[in-house]
């Protein structure tokens, strides 16, 4: 399928925006293939955070002076940018947290443990979730007696949708699913999943940590009630996460943190909450992180998320084609790039993934190895660990070639 040339990225120009990519590792060019763990940061994001500290550092929302007003304007401006980025109806549907993990915990605790979930209510997840979309739901089971059910995956790494239908019932109150697997790269049919969840009266929670950085997201079209993602995987700073929720479900969610900012009135022994989303943002927030996230959203928006996705499909297709030419390498997850993000999990014969990563590291190639915080999925495939390369806007076909050369080197060492 030929793509119009204009949608693809100018990768040399993109690379030039990332100062870390100029770095040498043991005199070798840095080949960064671990963006699914965290992305690198462009100069624009680095400048935005350092500008805040060097030019208008002040606390947000309450200061009656110029610096505070500037800080508040940038902070709330970032909320508007994030809302537009995922096509939310309103910036009031965007809650800032510290991570996807905190966002999912806020839903599990505020909507589940302290909220609507009762004994015997059912929560449907999947075996391909990251630990951060497993463990918070264990809390709801432990504290409220909720029943957890899981949709299995096929050997190719797709959700068993017919099994999902069987698990749904009037007892289902929450369906929680990742939009994109951090191991297999599988892009799940969340629109369909949410639609069926709504048909039985359940809300749909979406983990978009691996999706939001890499493809266009429209929360309204998806039908997500909650959607969580992280700044640091999408060119932004660490320590900033996002929880999107519709006005309806956010109103029904209790806050995690009590303290400043999140209150309307406080008296001895009792308090009332501020409006959504501020009731979830107790304490001084990560202002620099939010402003940096805003700059990251600007950067991605300027590239165009359609172009980002098209570029990653091209790189991933090339990687799949090349890796399949090497005998003795096993790859996991779907092979069709239309259903797969730029995540490539693989094993090489008797070489342990940690040894693969060590040998690649010698040549300045950064990949991940291990269980990828997805132990239930690894158990499903009876794998102790895999190696994983992941691609982003600054990766090109040369990076893929470097990976393939590294894989051949691993095979030589373990021959």
């Amino acid at each position: 399928m030929a793509k119009p040339a204009k949608v693809l990225l100018n990768v040399p120009a993109v690379k030039a925006d990332f100062p870390i990519l100029q770095r040498k590792i043991r005199d070798k060019r840095l080949v960064y293939l671990d963006s699914a763990a965290t992305s690198q940061k462009p100069q624009q994001v680095i400048d935005a955070t350092s500008d805040f500290y060097s030019r208008y550092n002040a606390n947000v929302h309450r200061a009656i002076y110029e610096l505070g007003e500037e800080a508040t304007r940038e902070y709330e401006g970032a909320r508007e940018k994030v809302a537009a980025f995922i096509r939310a109806k309103s910036a009031n549907e965007i809650v800032f947290t510290k991570s996807t993990t905190e966002s999912l915990n806020l839903v599990a605790y505020g909507y589940g443990v302290k909220g609507k979930i009762e004994k015997g209510d059912e929560i449907v997840g999947t075996v391909m979730e990251h630990h951060s979309n497993h463990v918070p739901w264990h809390f709801v089971k432990d504290h409220k007696g909720a029943v957890l059910k899981y949709v299995d995956v096929t050997d190719e790494g797709m959700l068993k949708m017919e099994q999902y239908d069987e698990l749904l019932s009037k007892r289902t109150k929450i369906v929680t699913v990742t939009l994109c697997s951090n191991v297999l790269g599988t892009i799940n049919p969340v629109k369909e999943i949410a639609k069926r969840a709504h048909e039985v009266g359940a809300v749909c929670v979406v983990d978009a940590a691996q999706a939001a950085p890499h493809m266009p997201i429209d929360v309204q079209s998806l039908g997500a009630d909650f959607l969580a993602f992280s700044g640091h995987k999408m060119l932004g700073p660490t320590g900033i996460g996002i929880l999107y929720g519709t006005a309806e479900v956010l109103e029904a969610t209790e806050p995690l943190l009590g303290g400043g900012e999140m209150i309307r009135e406080v008296h001895l022994g009792r308090a009332s909450w501020n409006d959504v989303p501020y009731k979830f943002e107790g304490g001084t927030p990560n202002i620099a992180g939010v402003i940096g996230l805003g700059a990251a959203v600007d950067y991605l928006t300027k590239l165009g998320m359609e172009a980002v996705r098209a570029h990653e499909m091209e790189v991933t297709q090339y990687a799949l084609d090349e890796i399949r030419r090497i005998k003795g390498v096993t790859i996991y997850g779907p092979k069709d790039v239309k259903r797969k993000a730029g995540v490539l999990a693989f094993t090489i014969g008797n070489a342990h993934p940690h040894d693969i990563a060590s040998i690649l590291d010698v040549d300045g190639i950064c990949i991940r190895s291990g269980h990828h915080c997805a132990q239930p999925l690894m158990e499903r495939y009876d794998l102790p660990a895999t190696a994983r390369a992941s691609f982003y806007v600054y990766n090109d076909l040369d990076d893929v070639d470097a990976l393939m050369a590294g894989i051949r080197k691993v095979q030589e060492v373990f021959a």
Partner: protein, 129 residues
């Protein structure tokens, strides 16, 4: 640094042809631990004779070359030594045997088997009693 600096022939040899690997029926001391970061796993089985000497040792496990080669090397070190000698074994003994530069993360792989040995020895009858 080249890949061959880390994966030297003697390490690969121990990884591909591990010494003293397998179950050990009748072992008096057994211990197991894993490295949650990597999923490396080492199980040690020891037989101790009447004079507090480790007469037989076997290991089982799975994981990276560094963890499994070091476990194999460890068995060759402790076979025939006394319990107090094994208790006194220090990390440098293993690291010297490996003889490669290791990052902090890989150090955990390298020292897993020594940790398992110490766990097993906790249950050893006290020779001084």
């Amino acid at each position: 640094m080249a890949a061959s600096d880390l994966y030297q022939e003697h390490i690969l040899d121990h990884y591909k042809h591990p010494r003293n690997k397998g179950p050990l029926p009748g072992a008096s001391l057994n211990a197991k631990d894993s490295n949650p970061l990597c999923g490396d796993e080492v199980v040690l089985h020891l037989k101790v004779d009447g004079s507090q000497r480790i007469s037989e040792v076997r290991f089982e496990g799975q994981g990276c070359a560094i963890s499994q080669a070091s476990a194999s090397m460890l068995t060759t070190i402790v076979k025939g030594v006394t319990i107090p000698e094994a208790e006194a074994l220090e990390r440098d003994a293993i690291l010297k045997e490996l003889g490669i530069p290791l990052s902090a993360v890989r150090l955990k792989c390298a020292l897993l088997s020594l940790h398992v040995l110490k766990l097993a020895l906790r249950n050893a009858p006290d020779a001084r009693a």
